[in-house]
């Protein structure tokens, strides 16, 4: 071989030469070359073709042996390997197949009939029916049976689950902490205090709580039996996992915000006390005989309370007393020195209460409340518009430069 020629076609990774480019190309596509390439990346020296062939043979042999071993382990195990889930999946697929077939048959029957539409004697259109074939009947029955079977299976599953849960149920007495378990308290109050202080479990509306034991027992059951997290409805696999979840995520709290959450524990509460106060007030008003006037005043007061809420706008936080705390983003435009609210002594209060001249124009609270409502509504609608606009700002799934089209 001419050295000048031979040096033209080489493979650096396998350290061999070729007589022509055809050979070189075929080599590059081969397994041996690929192997050597990988070795080179791993900074290993290349191996010769014989060695590679040997290696391939031995590894293939091993594989075959293993496969044979596996096969010899027996047919039964293969079935087991297809676990329950896969089995169910298979069955469902079969059932679907059968249903599809059934549909097709029915369709064929109609088409085969030519879909003849005959005008009845009384002018009604009648589609002629063809009798069902036996095949179709069989299929139908099979499908029905399968459906029944599946239902039964499901039922069995649920029952099993409940049984399992019952077996795993962890009963914690209300005088113990469900999270610590070691301590035993004298009464339920001790437990609640421990839960509040150590785990931060806050019982909402404690004033109206009448059945402490019931509430705590319910919560314990939810955790110990249902293995459900109190605040996020996470279902734990077992008692240990749910406790772990609640402790690590700080989820030891009773959600009490929307109506559903409130209703959930409402059985343990009695809010009739809160109604009584109102009715009492109304009774006294009744005695005065000034129903309507006072009623109006009450309404006003309600509005006042609404108006006295804090609310934030783009440029600041509106305090109930009418002050506006500027947002810090505006600090570069102006500096704010808000005066602290002044407390009046009794003397000053008396003089102000008796004063008629300066403060004749009393503030019309009704008008202000109405104005505030309008502003709030405007702000809200502006907000929703903005959000909507933001949502639909870009319809395109991918960026496409219109100039390049």
């Amino acid at each position: 071989m001419d050295s000048s020629v031979s040096s033209a076609y080489t493979c650096n990774s396998c350290q061999i030469q070729f007589s022509n480019s055809e050979n070189q190309r075929s080599h590059m596509k081969g397994e041996w070359h690929r192997y050597n390439l990988k070795r080179r990346v791993a900074q290993l020296p290349p191996i010769s073709e014989d060695l590679f062939n040997n290696k391939v043979n031995t590894s293939e042999k091993k594989k075959k042996e293993e496969e044979e071993e596996e096969k010899s382990k027996g047919q039964n195990e293969v079935d087991v390997k297809l676990n329950a889930k896969q089995l169910r999946k298979k069955q469902r697929e079969e059932l679907l197949e059968k249903k599809r077939k059934l549909l097709e048959l029915a369709k064929n029957r109609l088409v085969g009939n030519g879909g003849r539409v005959i005008m009845g004697e009384d002018g009604k259109m009648v589609v002629e029916k063809k009798e069902e074939t036996t095949e179709e009947k069989n299929l139908k029955e099979e499908v029905k049976e399968a459906a029944i079977k599946e239902e039964e299976e499901n039922n069995v599953d649920e029952e099993q689950l409940i049984k399992e849960k019952l077996a795993n149920k962890v009963d914690v007495p209300v005088t113990k902490c469900i999270f610590c378990k070691d301590e035993e308290f004298e009464n339920i109050d001790g437990t609640l205090e421990h839960l509040f202080k150590n785990h931060g479990l806050y019982i909402p509306e404690k004033r109206f709580l009448i059945n402490k034991e019931g509430l705590l027992a319910y919560l314990y059951e939810k955790i110990g039996y249902g293995n459900v997290c109190l605040s996020c409805n996470f279902q734990g696999r077992n008692f240990q996992s749910i406790i772990q979840h609640m402790l690590s995520k700080n989820h030891i709290k009773i959600p009490y915000e929307n109506e559903e959450e409130k209703l959930e524990i409402s059985d343990f509460y009695d809010f009739s006390k809160s109604y009584e106060i109102e009715t009492n007030e109304k009774d006294t008003l009744d005695e005065d005989g000034e129903w309507e006037d006072v009623d109006e005043e009450e309404l006003e007061n309600d509005e006042d309370i609404d108006g006295e809420k804090l609310y934030a706008s783009d440029y600041g936080l509106h305090l109930p007393n009418g002050m506006v705390l500027g947002h810090r983003s505006l600090a570069k435009y102006y500096r704010q020195n808000l005066k602290p609210e002044k407390e009046w002594s009794e003397a000053q209060g008396t003089v102000m209460a008796a004063e008629t001249r300066k403060f004749v124009n009393t503030i019309d609270t009704k008008a202000i409340a109405a104005q505030k409502r309008v502003w709030n509504r405007e702000a809200k609608s502006r907000d929703t518009n903005d959000r909507r606009a933001q949502k639909f700002i870009n319809w395109q799934p991918h960026y496409r430069d219109e100039l390049l089209q």
Partner: protein, 564 residues
């Protein structure tokens, strides 16, 4: 505006706290006792220095400061738990024609800090409050030539005024006490015999009748008014309080009399036809609504359970010439004649302002800390006030003088920013009617004097003649100063205890020796006699419980120290 008090609090502050319970009456009584004791102390100081010649005569400033300090010590002595208690009316010594407000500071010079002369009549006015329950007191004394007993009574115009005001004051006290026992009211006073009650118009008629029989006139700003907790008329004009109840005398009443007299005058100088005189009626074309009852009217009934302040000022009338007796406010600026500087101030709580000067900020913070809604003097916020009787008195006085000088630097800004309102020093002046009639009223009747605020509804002093207070000001140059005598006492009408006279009373303070040529005349003589007879006998008449003086064995050492 943030300055609103809720209706609930208003009810509590204005109604419930004013129920005259035993507790409240105790506070009133102590306030009354303090004023009585303090008045006695000041009279003894004047007697010692002017009449008995024990030492050099005290100047007005010294007397005021000693009186204030004495009063403050007494106030601090009892009711330790009550936070708000202080001097309600700084000691003022209104000489002759001065009516209210003359209370110089130690820093004033000879010209404005007076020493009294023989024959002067001096009105000592003071007041204090315990938890807002106020007792005010004014008493007029005569400066006699020095000696153990005066050589003779005071004669002349001044004595007429003293007798008239004293008598009016005592009569009204008895009349108010009659409100508790309505069956004792003299029948001749009542228009309607079946409806036995003391009304505002009865009080006005009695006072006017007494003034007339002693040839005097009731000076504007005289009043018989109900006082309430923290509302004792200390800021009249600045504050227009709701549910004002009281008789107030003003130029309007004098105008009516003048116009009546003009009808009968045949003098060529004065227009005799009343139809020409009465040209402008302020009520014409205006609707005066009084929903808060802030404008005083005589149409009220005195009820048990209320506390009244009787403030009667009388001036002798010039018989020869008709004219108006009105009040000039001294501003301390013009140099001619006597002109005192304002020294009493009231904090206007509705105003707040960032002050520029360090001195004014300091003064404001001190005032806000120590004083409330009652008038104060600069010396009150000094560290050395009240004077400590055990320390060196001269040194303490020097300290107060120094402090006041420093406070004066900041005072101007506080007044300019309207944080403080200065109390006017009023002097009584007689303006002849012919000068009033000459003045043109080109500006109309809608102007009023903002610098000297009056009670609501009284902004126009002469409504029939259509002369505003600003126009009246221009007439003071034709005016002549007139002496004024003034008596103030406070009376609590309690259903359970009866009538308690908190301040004043002839058991403690006998009036000075004066002699008048006039006598009570006509029906008023009978009424006054009948009423004074009622007070003589407790069994068949009316019992008036006068507040006594306090035991001051441990406090009254200042005077002795002063002599050294």
């Amino acid at each position: 505006m943030a300055l609103q008090i809720s209706p609930k609090d208003t009810d509590l502050l204005l109604k419930q706290k004013n129920v005259l319970s035993a507790d409240v009456l105790d506070k009133y009584r102590y306030a009354g006792e303090v004023t009585q004791t303090c008045l006695q102390y000041i009279i003894s100081l004047i007697n010692d220095s002017y009449h008995l010649g024990k030492h050099e005569p005290y100047s007005a400033a010294e007397l005021c400061l000693l009186g204030d300090s004495f009063m403050q010590t007494l106030i601090n002595g009892k009711f330790k738990k009550v936070i708000e208690k202080s001097i309600a009316q700084p000691v003022t010594l209104d000489v002759n024609d001065l009516v209210v407000g003359y209370s110089p500071e130690l820093t004033d010079d000879e010209k404005t800090n007076l020493t009294f002369k023989v024959g002067d009549i001096v009105t000592i006015n003071l007041g204090c409050h315990i938890d807002g329950y106020t007792s005010n007191l004014a008493h007029t004394i005569v400066i006699f030539p020095s000696g153990l007993t005066p050589p003779g009574p005071l004669l002349g115009e001044s004595s007429d005024a003293i007798v008239a005001s004293y008598l009016a004051n005592e009569t009204i006290v008895t009349l108010l006490a009659c409100a508790l026992k309505t069956e004792k009211i003299p029948n001749s006073l009542l228009n309607d015999k079946s409806n036995r009650q003391i009304t505002g118009s009865i009080i006005r008629n009695v006072v006017n009748a007494i003034a007339e029989s002693f040839n005097c006139t009731v000076v504007p700003t005289s009043k018989v008014r109900r006082i309430r907790r923290f509302l004792a008329g200390q800021a009249e004009g600045v504050v227009a309080e709701r549910d004002f109840k009281g008789v107030v005398w003003s130029e309007i009443d004098q105008e009516k009399e003048l116009l009546k007299r003009c009808n009968f005058t045949e003098d060529g100088e004065i227009i005799s036809n009343s139809n020409e005189l009465i040209t402008i009626d302020q009520n014409k074309g205006r609707s005066i609504d009084n929903p808060d009852k802030a404008i005083p009217t005589d149409d009220f009934v005195i009820l048990p359970g209320e506390v009244y302040m009787i403030d009667i000022k009388m001036a002798p009338i010039n018989k020869d010439e008709p004219g108006l007796y009105t009040l000039e406010s001294l501003d301390g600026k013009t140099k001619e004649g006597f002109n005192a500087k304002h020294s009493i101030f009231i904090r206007d709580v509705s105003m707040s302002e960032q002050l520029k000067l360090r001195n004014s900020r300091r003064l404001l913070s001190l005032v806000d800390k120590h004083q409330s809604v009652y008038p104060f003097k600069l010396s009150y916020v000094s560290e050395n006030f009240p004077l400590n009787s055990k320390g060196n008195l001269i040194e303490q006085l020097n300290h107060i003088e120094k402090d006041v000088n420093i406070f004066k630097f900041g005072l101007n800004e506080c007044i300019n920013k309207q944080l403080f309102v200065s109390k006017a020093i009023l002097s009584c002046k007689f303006i002849p009617l012919k000068e009033i009639l000459k003045v043109p009223t080109s500006t109309g009747i809608n102007g009023y004097d903002a610098a000297n605020p009056t009670l609501p509804g009284m902004e126009l002093p002469l409504p029939k003649l259509g002369i505003t207070s600003l126009k009246l000001k221009t007439l003071f140059k034709y005016g002549k100063r007139t002496v004024v005598s003034r008596y103030v006492s406070t009376v609590a009408l309690s259903n359970e205890v009866g009538c308690v006279r908190l301040s004043g009373g002839n058991k403690l303070f006998t009036p000075s020796w004066v002699h008048t040529n006039y006598q009570l005349q006509g029906s008023i003589a009978e009424i006054v006699n009948e009423l004074s007879a009622l007070t003589q006998d407790e069994r068949f008449g009316i019992k008036i419980d006068e507040c006594n003086v306090l035991d001051i064995s441990n406090v009254g050492e200042e005077a002795n120290d002063m002599e050294e």
